[in-house]
């Protein structure tokens, strides 16, 4: 056997194995999605959006409480996490640059990104829930917001650094003060990227359960009081799924399906914005 033949065979073997591995990984993914879609669509009906939770066995039970609660929690988390993340990312890219402090912040933020989310939950439990004396939507939103910060901080930092330095210099050369250079030129240049980072950050926290378990806790009824425990899709899903009642399990599937579609939608939207943002240039 010549060296060339040997190489061709090796190449085929490697290709076969890597293709097989990919197929197996994808098969599980589609299996999960297929079951989710089948069970989820099956469990969907209008009642879900109209009624709040009820004890098992009632006809008129839905997920309105969890849907609204989820939106409130994620919305509040976005209000907390996005400004902090973008401002910190701006500091890193435009002011800190390669300083020791900036590198330390980047490292810590990377560690935060991979920290187990339940740890963040425990932290918020200690500093917010304990002093307040009760669970609250605020506590849940703060936990989610903290998880969001490092994601948005890093994408903002990366996206701002992609804006060419000559563009900044050109603005300075026209006599622009630094904050206007950042606001008018750098942010505009990185608009699509930052927006994508924000959407991916929201998508990331929207699926979190652990940090909510002992911050916003859960509630089976509709509420908009931010100082009270607040239901969320994820915790509701968890409670319903492990319950022995079939109608609750059905609602759990519906919640899983709606949440997955929401996150999928955010991800697709984020990618579309990035794609069209790049094409325009």
């Amino acid at each position: 056997m010549t060296a060339t033949q040997k190489r061709i065979i090796m190449n085929r073997v490697a290709l076969t194995f890597s293709t097989l591995s990919t197929l197996i990984a994808l098969a599980f993914l589609f299996w999960i999605l297929a079951i989710l879609v089948m069970k989820g669509v099956d469990a969907l009906n209008w009642n879900i959006f109209i009624y709040e939770g009820s004890p098992p066995g009632y006809e008129d039970s839905g997920l309105k409480h969890a849907l609204v609660g989820q939106l409130i929690l994620v919305g509040l988390a976005t209000l907390i996490g996005v400004p902090l993340g973008i401002m910190a990312g701006t500091y890193l890219s435009e002011y800190g640059k390669n300083s020791k402090l900036a590198h330390t912040i980047r490292d810590i933020s990377d560690i935060m990104m991979s920290a187990p989310s339940i740890v963040i939950g425990a932290f918020v439990y200690a500093v917010v829930v304990m002093p307040m004396g009760h669970f609250s939507a605020w506590a849940g939103a703060i936990a989610l917001g903290i998880i969001m910060i490092p994601i948005i901080l890093r994408t903002t930092d990366d996206m701002l650094q992609l804006v060419p330095g000559t563009l900044r210099e050109a603005a300075f050369a026209l006599g622009a003060p630094k904050y206007k250079v950042i606001k008018d030129v750098v942010y505009r240049g990185a608009k699509a990227g930052i927006l994508t980072g924000v959407l991916l950050g929201i998508a990331r926290v929207a699926g979190e359960t652990a940090p909510l378990l002992f911050t916003s806790f859960n509630d089976n009824f509709f509420t908009t009081d931010l100082n009270e425990a607040m239901p969320s899709l994820t915790v509701t899903m968890f409670n319903y799924a492990i319950s022995p009642y079939e109608d609750w399990q059905q609602l759990g599937w519906a919640a899983a399906f709606i949440l997955s579609m929401f996150i999928l939608g955010l991800n697709i939207l984020g990618r579309l914005i990035l794609f069209f943002g790049k094409k325009r240039k």
Partner: protein
């Protein structure tokens, strides 16, 4: 041994014993440079890569201040004061001394907003005044005819040559005294290059121009005065024809005849 011409007419800038050192560098990148910059004329700076011509150009609007740790010594006189002073108002200075970069730097906004940007920075809000001055600047930059129907369009949709003329329009819209050109045509095709060169010659009626170029033919075509720089020193400054035809320094002659560089 430098041979520096004495300019009799009024000067826009006077450089005296100017030295510039980059952050952390052991020795200055520009050494004891003394040169007058004639008013309402084009002064070209030529020389091999790394000779310091761009470094010198970026000293005139104190662009080096964007990166901390660089140091200036000596004097650059502009409008009767030394602009290297610690109290110099850089924002004001940069509205008086504009700059055009090597690569076009259209901002990610509309064509109109690009040209209006500098004026808005100066606090001009009146819509009629803005649009009049935008039109005038675009006409002066020979771009008006091509863009008058799409002023609201994204400036990044323009070609490279158009974007460079847009940058010139943006710079002249704030009516500076001096314009610095840093190899403005090195990223452009020959036809766009011709357009920019024509503009440079037209503009010198109103502004004093300093242009850094790699291209000796370009220096010969557009400039009234030419300075030849080598290893951080200004070797010779003279009338352009004289410098190219009868250079006074041996180094200049070797460079313009292609013996090195």
């Amino acid at each position: 041994m430098a041979s520096i011409i004495d300019i009799k007419e009024e000067c826009a800038l006077h450089v005296r014993d100017f030295e510039f050192t980059y952050k952390g560098a052991a020795s200055p990148s520009l050494k004891k440079i003394t040169m007058p910059i004639a008013k309402h004329a084009v002064t070209a700076l030529i020389g091999p890569s790394g000779c310091g011509k761009t470094t010198l150009l970026r000293s005139f609007n104190r662009m080096h201040d964007l990166y901390p740790g660089n140091t200036y010594a000596g004097e650059i006189e502009f409008e009767g004061r030394n602009i290297l002073g610690a109290k110099e108002d850089l924002i004001h200075l940069r509205t008086k001394i504009g700059m055009i970069f090597q690569k076009p730097t259209a901002f990610p906004m509309s064509i109109f907003d690009n040209v209006a940007y500098g004026m808005r920075l100066q606090g001009i809000k009146n819509k009629t005044e803005l649009s009049d001055r935008v039109e005038k600047a675009l006409q002066d930059a020979a771009l008006w005819k091509e863009v008058q129907d799409r002023l609201k369009h994204d400036a990044n949709g323009l070609s490279g040559g158009q974007q460079q003329r847009l940058c010139i329009a943006r710079a002249i819209a704030v009516e500076p005294e001096v314009l610095l050109f840093d190899e403005p045509t090195s990223a452009l095709d020959p036809i766009s290059t011709q357009g920019i060169e024509k503009l440079v010659i037209e503009l010198k009626e109103r502004v004093s121009i300093i242009i850094v170029t790699h291209n000796m033919q370009q220096a010969a075509r557009v400039s009234d005065y030419t300075g030849f720089m080598y290893l951080g020193e200004l070797i010779e400054l003279g009338h352009t024809e004289e410098l190219f035809v009868t250079p006074k320094e041996k180094l200049t002659q070797e460079y313009i005849t292609g013996k090195f560089g």
